[in-house]
């Protein structure tokens, strides 16, 4: 008989039942917990505090904790499995974590601030003590606009073609006020000094009530992308002195969430050229250093989120999240330790890499032999069309990188670091990402950063507006379609070079 245990997550207050032996990594991932070192037990970024119950330790785990100077009741989520009922406090929501695990330096100020990551799908807000840098409380919600379509283009469609803009603005502002209201109950009546909101261009326009029509067709240039200031009353919050600001758009589809990403990665202060890539539907890319920054959106599409893939699904329970070959046999890891129901983006990348190595997919992406399907488990398989979808998505990113780097005169060797943002990015296998030509950089240069929009917004709570102005001054947006060679570059990058 299978055992099930209850896991309680604090400060989220969420409770879940899972099978005995389920890795904590699988449980925490859907809640936005990040694994900056990729789950190798090196950085301590995913540490959790055991408040009640227990999580057993093996030797390796013990050594990893010792190295990081952590004692009971701390555990590393990436090294832990559920072995009994347990209540956990997620350390990540308490401290700033940078990829190199050095604490983030800030100048303490009195009072509180709120950092808001306003995503197309999810909303995350953190109440931060500006004195200690601690996250006092967290709120997460699904974006209520999602019922009008999953991606930004369908929101534009609803807003512009079906006159639904006011409705979308109302929905998001109401949710914002509700989430903020709940956070404010934790400050003991003190109104926050600052609320900073980061979101992509479409979220910016919808929240701020700006006309989205320019984003519906060529040339996709918006005159309404500047930072947007609000008073508390305007947004239905109790009247006070709080400064409320929605971060400005960088250009076209590259929004304030990416601007926050630049802050989080320190790209704007780096001497060496670095890259920031968001492996989402819009596939935003930033290349540059403290002198000059170029950005673009590559329109990769939703393949990495499992959409348009025959058996694709989001990275939740039942999804194949990684694939390896052991002794000539295909082994899959399924999120939640359950029977595989489908495959998510990280699993797709692994599967393609594995089939390239076994010769079941050739360099052009064709399934070899007379096979129609490539099985991964009894039920889950890849189709030829899945491979094609992946080729489009990976080439969009690779081509965007190629064009931006080329424009700045950089070769891969000039780039000191590649920061990958987004929850999906933290779960990818870097060897395989390079193998399929998605991010063809040496593994040691790639740093998984998780939610850079939230981190950057949080960091900006401690600064005055100048850093944002400086970034805006040196950043230019490049429209990839303006490159006359796009088609050839795009076709070249679809191939899987050995």
């Amino acid at each position: 008989m299978e055992h099930h245990y209850t896991v309680r997550l604090e400060p989220l207050g969420k409770q879940i039942r899972v099978q005995a032996g389920t890795p904590l990594k699988d449980i925490l991932f859907p809640y936005g917990v990040e694994f900056p070192c990729g789950g190798k037990g090196l950085c301590g970024g995913c540490r959790v505090k055991v408040l009640q119950g227990s999580v057993s330790l093996d030797e390796e785990h013990k050594r990893a904790l010792e190295k990081l100077g952590l004692k009971d009741p701390w555990r590393l989520a990436c090294r832990s499995r559920v072995t009994g009922d347990v209540t956990l406090e997620i350390g990540q929501f308490d401290t700033f974590i940078l990829a190199d695990s050095s604490p983030f330096h800030f100048h303490p100020r009195p009072g509180y601030g709120i950092a808001f990551d306003l995503g197309t799908t999810t909303l995350v807000a953190q109440l931060v003590s500006l004195e200690s840098g601690e996250v006092v409380a967290v709120e997460t919600e699904v974006n209520p606009q999602a019922r009008y379509g999953g991606d930004v283009i369908s929101r534009i469609e609803y807003a512009v073609l079906q006159q639904g803009a006011d409705e979308l603005t109302r929905l998001i502002r109401e949710k914002f006020a509700a989430m903020t209201g709940r956070l404010l109950r934790k400050t003991g009546g003190t109104p926050p000094e600052k609320i900073l909101i980061a979101g992509n261009t479409v979220m910016h326009h919808l929240f701020c009530g700006r006309d989205l029509a320019p984003m519906a067709s060529y040339p996709f240039e918006t005159p309404h992308g500047d930072a947007c200031r609000f008073t508390a009353e305007e947004l239905g919050l109790p009247a006070d002195h709080t400064e409320i600001l929605f971060l400005p758009v960088l250009g076209s589809f590259v929004g304030g969430d990416i601007l926050a990403g630049i802050v989080a990665t320190g790209l704007d202060e780096s001497e060496d050229p670095v890259i920031l890539v968001d492996l989402g539907t819009n596939g935003e890319i930033v290349v540059g250093n403290r002198d000059r920054i170029l950005c673009a959106s590559t329109a990769a599409g939703p393949a990495f989120e499992g959409t348009n893939i025959h058996m694709g699904m989001r990275a939740t329970t039942g999804a194949i999240s990684s694939v390896t070959v052991e002794g000539g046999e295909i082994k899959t890891h399924v999120i939640g330790n359950e029977k595989a129901r489908g495959i998510c983006g990280s699993g797709l990348i692994d599967a393609i890499a594995v089939f390239l190595d076994t010769g079941q997919i050739d360099a052009g992406g064709r399934i070899t032999g007379d096979r129609e399907r490539l099985p991964l488990t009894q039920e889950v398989f890849l189709t030829q069309k899945d491979v094609r979808e992946l080729q489009l998505a990976k080439s969009a990113i690779a081509s965007g990188l190629h064009i931006l780097m080329d424009r700045l005169g950089y070769g891969p060797q000039d780039i000191s670091n590649v920061y990958v943002s987004g929850a999906f990015g933290t779960f990818i296998n870097l060897t395989n990402t390079a193998r399929i030509g998605l991010l063809d950089f040496p593994e040691e240069k790639i740093i998984k950063m998780g939610n850079t929009a939230l981190l950057g917004t949080k960091m900006l709570l401690f600064e005055d507006g100048e850093r944002v102005d400086r970034i805006l001054r040196k950043t230019a947006h490049l429209s990839l379609e303006s490159n006359p060679r796009f088609q050839d570059i795009f076709a070249d990058n679809m191939m899987f070079m050995p």
Binding site: I153, Y218, Q384, Q391, E481, Q487, M494
Partner: protein
């Protein structure tokens, strides 16, 4: 004798443009579509024969592979390059009138949209099937289609869109084209489209891939 046309068919399908081209790697050093076409004409094959028995055939084969998922954008583009290299030799015969094209197809990505790769692939296939293609490029408003139709009366219009926000522009353009001349045939395509959408906007034909579109076009010639 027929051998050379077969070789040319393969060169087109595999995307071997000329002897010097490194692609495909397994055909390195072999003659490509450029040389083989010149030779075939020298050997006495008519331009019509070279076109129909080798170029159209080669493009048809790659089109079939593409529809079946066995070939993709890069292979298709290489095949088109090979076809273009061969066409250089055939074009003078189009101009002199000794080889007739099946008709004229005007293509454009719809107003507001710059995605043109699908439209370009379609253009190559249609040209490779023996049609004259007038490519109006991307972000094409009605006025441009109008101008091209005035210049090429009786031409068929093909429109492509990749965005759900721009495909709606096809409706207005189709209506205006039909108002100019109700007999003008309008075909539409692009990833977000469907047969249902095609019917809604009053267009005549929808195909999810270029192969379907060329088969539809060829059907028009046979029935007339």
């Amino acid at each position: 004798m027929e051998d050379i046309l077969e070789k040319l068919t393969i060169a087109v399908k595999r995307g071997k443009a000329d002897k010097n081209s490194p692609y495909p790697p397994d055909m390195k050093g072999q003659e490509g579509a450029d040389e083989l076409t010149a030779e075939a004409l020298k050997m006495g094959f008519t331009a019509e024969e070279v076109l129909q028995k080798a170029l159209v055939k080669g493009m048809h084969l790659i089109g079939e592979d593409f529809s079946a998922g066995k070939a993709f954008v890069p292979e298709m583009l290489m095949a088109a390059k090979a076809m273009k290299a061969a066409m250089k030799h055939i074009e003078p015969f189009f101009k002199s009138g000794s080889v007739k094209q099946k008709g004229t197809v005007i293509l454009g990505t719809v107003q507001g949209d710059l995605h043109d790769i699908g439209k370009n692939l379609l253009g190559m296939m249609v040209e490779g099937a023996g049609w004259k293609v007038v490519d109006l490029g991307a972000d094409t408003p009605f006025e441009k289609f109008k101008g091209a139709l005035e210049e090429h009366p009786g031409a068929i219009v093909g429109m492509s869109a990749l965005l759900t926000t721009t495909m709606v522009n096809m409706k207005g353009i189709t209506e205006k084209i039909k108002a100019m001349n109700p007999d003008t045939i309008v075909m539409v395509g692009g990833a977000p489209l469907s047969q249902e959408f095609c019917d809604q906007i009053g267009a005549d034909f929808y195909s999810p891939d270029p192969q379907g579109a060329t088969e539809f076009l060829d059907g028009l010639v046979q029935s007339s």
